[in-house]
Assembly symmetry: C2
Homo-oligomer: 368 residues x 2
């Protein structure tokens, strides 16, 4: 693994001191910020995540805050998901598209009030797109990046740990809903959400100064629950089919190609900037689409570039964008984009990995 040169530009987070004390082994960079990737090892972290509870520094999920009378209109401009039925207190996963229908980000929208939203972003400066639109349309909104840093608590024991710190009321938060909770006198939004399928919460930590006090409180309260510092886990997220913007999709892809059609209501999403571009693909479907793919043989290496997916005869029909060895499913699990002619479950394909040609198979569903 190469070394990463630290600099101010790769921003530390309110939790970085805790992350370092916990022995972080590697980082990635996400929204110009440090995101831990490994603590003990990717596989040890994976087993622990599925068995216990972890605290994740995901401050890099920066917020785009949109306030003002036109806030709702602006958020609907961003996405083909129909937001009319969305209530304050709800979180929606919203594909964000440009005027061509290309994905610009795949964040979670947090509706704080009719006139106040947070967009909890994946790795691109969505702030710039939102500010550009707000300015160009002369909308009556304020758009900025507030001092809010998400901290995730994930794993089967997450609820127990959270209840110890925030009280039993957290147990009543439903999936993709949030509530307001007090921590040391500061109001914090706590949502039942997170970038794993092991259950858990995301705390929108309100103020850099509250980062380490909350980190320490969670670590202290969870000692007998075997709480550990953790991070989004490559293996678990692939098993669970959690896509990664920049890895599995770019602005070349429509939401439908990304298998995110279920989050689109293109017909009724009046005002969505990409609506015209997406109407046809929403009706007729895309020509290529994300698929779960298993890759035979021993553990594959790091997928740091697209791996070509071909037929047995060598015709390219897709690409792999994420891959990892899954101990629980005893195979290499992968996320690929595959052409319509070869995307049916059970289709036998070949992947050109750094370890050579490997047989591979399209699955009907992700593993978790």
């Amino acid at each position: 693994m190469p070394l990463l040169s630290p600099s101010r530009r790769l921003r530390r987070t309110p939790f970085s001191d805790g992350v370092e004390a916990a022995g972080v082994k590697a980082y990635t960079v996400y929204n110009h910020m440090l995101l831990p990737t490994v603590f003990r090892s990717v596989e040890e972290d994976y087993h622990h995540l599925k068995a216990a509870v972890q605290v994740w520094d995901v401050a890099c999920e920066r917020q785009v805050e949109i306030r003002g009378p036109d806030a709702g209109r602006l958020v609907q401009m961003l996405t083909p998901r129909d937001l009319r039925g969305m209530l304050p207190g709800q979180c929606y996963y919203v594909p964000i598209v440009d005027e061509t229908g290309g994905m610009l980000n795949d964040p979670v929208a947090v509706k704080l009030a009719e006139d106040r939203w947070w967009i909890s972003i994946a790795d691109s400066d969505l702030l710039y797109w939102v500010k550009g639109l707000a300015y160009g349309y002369r909308l009556d909104v304020l758009v900025d990046e507030p001092d809010i840093s998400p901290l995730a608590v994930q794993g089967p024991k997450a609820e127990d740990l959270m209840a110890r710190v925030f009280g039993d009321a957290v147990r009543r938060i439903r999936f993709f809903r949030f509530g307001h909770f007090d921590f040391q006198g500061r109001d914090m939004v706590v949502a039942r959400s997170g970038y794993s399928k092991q259950g858990g919460f995301e705390i929108y930590v309100n103020g850099t100064d509250m980062g380490m006090p909350l980190w320490n409180a969670l670590m202290e309260a969870g000692r007998d629950l075997d709480v550990h510092a953790g991070c989004p886990n490559l293996i678990e997220r692939i098993e669970s089919g959690l896509l990664s913007y920049g890895n599995d999709m770019t602005d070349d892809n429509t939401p439908h190609e990304c298998w995110l059609g279920r989050f689109c209501n293109t017909q009724s999403a009046i005002g969505c900037i990409g609506r015209d571009a997406l109407l046809r693909v929403a009706k007729e479907g895309p020509l290529q689409q994300i698929r779960p793919i298993s890759i035979d043989g021993a553990k594959v290496g790091v997928c740091d570039r697209y791996w070509p997916v071909t037929t047995r005869q060598g015709e390219q029909v897709g690409r792999i964008s994420s891959a990892a060895w899954s101990p629980d499913f005893d195979t290499n699990v992968a996320i690929g984009m595959v052409r319509i002619t070869h995307w049916d479950a059970g289709t036998e394909l070949v992947v050109q990995t750094p370890q050579g040609r490997r047989d591979a198979r399209v699955h009907s569903a992700f593993w978790n």
Copy 2:
């Protein structure tokens, strides 16, 4: 130094194979792309850059291409620099500001034709701001990221090396001008520019497939010139006062705070979005400003967060955002933002470094 987890999201470049073969020791991430930071050591790379010639993979300086009848209007909307006198064939360093006058990027604008520009960006997704404005204003332009990857050739022997590969005509390119040159049948823009003050060129490599052929041709042609793979050098860029977006400035700062007032013509930059916000600061000056600062004592550590700058009495009057030990000037050189009350050359200050309090001094000019 921490480890960096590779992934597709941290894009490789057309030159990555060459960079790896040359023994790159560390990277940073810049515009979602790998940017080498060290080959032999930062200090060895520094001495070599000043004595010989280096080839730099700066593909991460992605291009925002703007084409169409409204291209010129759109570029002027982005910047308080007056572009009316700019001719095709010129490059301008252009501060980019939002409606509050806050810096969004500090790229080089390359005017290819009246209706075609490249904006060669620093580390932020300026594409999103430009696309948002173009869409909001219904401008008659196409905006995208083309397959163009800059490769820099920097150092005192850069011109000799470039002449061997592109012919003697490169010697006639003036500073911040460019010409079109052929390499293996492909047209390439070659500018006399680059992120060092050692002289040199940037080749806007046209097509990923041309990356390694050109890299290899330069390495081959420069053997007796002691050509090496290199990269923007932390020490040299601080000595030279070359600012780094995200390190030395953010969207909180105006160009005037960044000592970039000489690149602003706020009065005459009609159409610039931040013009109203900047008129007063352009006339009256800012309340804090970037300054060259020397820090006494032994070599300081890595500046990965702001270091407070105080008076001897402990009052905070600024911050350091970049710092390094300079072998040639036998002191720690640094870039700081200092309040008007304490920014005069010769002012004695104190910097809180990770190695403790250090005496420091404001300088009138950068070192190179």
